[in-house]
Amino acid sequence: MRKNVPLFPEQASTLAGEVDALYLTFLGISVFFGLLVAGLVIFFAIRFRRRSPDEIGRPEKAGILLEIIWSVIPLAILLIMFAWGAKVYVEAFRPPGNAVEYFVTAKQWMWKFQHPQGNREINVLHVPLGQPIRLTMTSEDVIHSFFVPAFRVKADVLPGRYTTVWFEASKVGTFHLFCAEYCGAEHSVMGGDIVVMNPADYELWLAGRDSGPSVVASGEELFRVKACNTCHRPDSATLAPILHGIFGEEAEFQDGSTQIVDENYIRESILNPTAKLVKGYKPLMPTYKGQLTEEEVLQLIGYIKSLASDATESQGTVPASGSPALDSDEG
């Protein structure tokens, strides 16, 4: 199925059509201007070719009007394309609210995935069709880049921080995953497959293997084992801030500055707790640098995100099965 589309990539995400429309329009504009210039150059070069050795050209007066026209028209077109491109880009980097979060850890030279249900995979990621999926990604060593051409998405994966990207697969099948940022000897084989399945098949696939504890459960376990809960208690804020409901809210620090609590902030608070001290607390928390793997940090973050203030809703649940749009075309 991959082999017979030699000139254009498959469209397998809701974004792909939009990117292609933008690209093809710009291509059309480019072909028009390219042919216009090439046509004029060739026409003039023939029409005004030198007829006698002493001939010279006939200079014309500078045409201010022409200069303005051929500055303003390209500028206007470029600004329109900018705005359109910006719209697509903002969409691609702002995950919708109902996106389900998967974790990605890259390292030389493999991709490690964890489903919210707990399943782990290496170099292959199974995802359900029609479900927005948000990837929270980090690297254990150098910079890599998550690239799925059929989805038209790409985002660098950095050591020491999280980046996110999202997609909603729109076609069942197996698609290339590439590492797009040069990362050393095996860069060109640091790839894999994204397998898009009908939601029912995905459920079956999940059920068919031992998923291990879910991300939230693993995080909860770590929270206990690493003794985070001796200070961060749900009922008392004397030693350390209560973590319920902090995600997405504003934190206020000793020096009066504030920040919205996101994944990168939680990560920093675990690995370098004194970097930003929450107002009203002492620098008591020890660093967990070197004591947690990248994946464990992600699980802790998953757990903390699940701690809603009313302790009912939790993030990262299994996507609802039996979604609409069952595509029968199997890869």
Binding site: F8, V19, V41, F48, I56, A62, V88, Y89, G160, E181
Partner: protein, 541 residues
Amino acid sequence: MSDTVTTPARRRNYLNADYGIKSWLLTQDHKRIAILYLVSITFFFVLGGVMAALIRVELATPLGDMVEPDTYNRLFTAHGVLMVFLFLIPSIPAVLGNFLIPLMIGAKDLAFPKLNLGSWYVYNLGAVLMVVALLRGGTDTGWTFYTPYSSTFADSEVILTALGAFVVGFSSIMTGLNFIVTIHRMRAPGLTWFRLPLFVWAHYGTSLIQILGTPVVAIAILLVAAERLLHIGIFDPALGGDPVLFQHLFWFYSHPAVYIMILPSMGVISELITAFSRKRIFGYKFVAFSSLAIAVLGFLVWGHHLFVSSQSIYAGLIFSVLSMLVAVPSAVKTFNWTATLYQGSISWQTPMIYALGFIGLFVIGGLTGTMLATLGIDMHVHDTYFVVAHFHYIMVGGAIMAYLGGLHFWWPKITGRMYSVFWSRISAGLIFFGFNLTFFPQFLLGYMGMPRRYHAYPEEFQILNVLSSAGATILGVGYLLPLIYFTWSMRYGERASDNPWGAYGLEWETSSPPPTFNFDEPPVVTTEAYDYLAMRDKRVA
């Protein structure tokens, strides 16, 4: 003065003034220094070309079956580093600019002849460092040296190569400084700013970038070395650094540096188009100021290399819109060149074939550049072969076409000899065709999703890769031909007259090759640039 009377054969000129090896290695004559540079950069062009050939052979099949992955990575790194730092950046400025700027402004030499010679030695020192690095196994970081791979992980000659780039940077600064002072202080009487050839304007813009941008990349390189040697955390997050900071520093220089490579070629094209249309350029001031606009705006767009590097969405928006703006002066130049042809007296000599080819390839390179500046497109094609194709259209299709066009144009002035018209046309044709066959398929590959810097790739990309490798073969032959007929012409070529093309410009008013101090009498300028009418009237009179 006349261009028909042949020059006396044994006239004293800068070439036959002295033959000793010392007279070359210690020369302070800008024309001889230009030749020294020509020899050096040609050597590295050939070396870089050999690397490219190996890369293309490897990519003819999907499997990485010819060299080891690690070797492949060292090959493309060496290719990029040699071509960018040792060939393209010095190419037009250090060879043609060095030779022509004093001639074009009616000066005896550059403002600082010793600095000029010094720059060649500094260049060679940097080149030696890079060659030693190559002999010790090379570097595997890519010419972009991204951290933390380069600073902590790579196990290759990163420091030597980077140090080489650092040192070569100084030769570039020295040349830029020399040009700026020369253009300000040494113009012939009557040669006002707006009578300057556009080649000189373009080099003025280039020199500004060279002296303002190069120090920044030099600092970035030093910081990488500091992290590698002293383990100071600057870029590696494991040491408390920020890996993306390097990308900002690197592109703050290297985006303007892409204009160091293309602005001089735009200057060459303006000269070629006017000379072979025998007509004043359309919109002189617009073309002149667009060089400055590019030099200035070029400093504000570096973030378009970081659209998917975790840069904030807002930064992405700003860098995207600024990149659109920087494309406008390039478009303006293109339209002005095209309009110059209108009602010209167009002669299809070899340099003009290069110039017209340049326009076509540069348009493709520029348009695909604006596509890359479009956020929604870049997130798909960033770091794919689409980018590779784009910058080769600009740097090879643009800059090298202009460099070769310029060499063919000024060769009679430089050597006093003509080359074979027949073979030069064949080679221009081969280069144009071979180039397109090599790089056009790469746009398609990139949009299909083939990432760059891949040693092996999925089978469905093979057909286009084979086409590209086939094109590279033709391109290689195209480049080899000038090497042969230029060398041949130095001995056997027909002697050239002072002004074989009947072109306007002070460089054509002195003999071919020029005397050591360029002009027997200091020239005085009384006409506007490219004023062919006045030139004809003067000759008739």
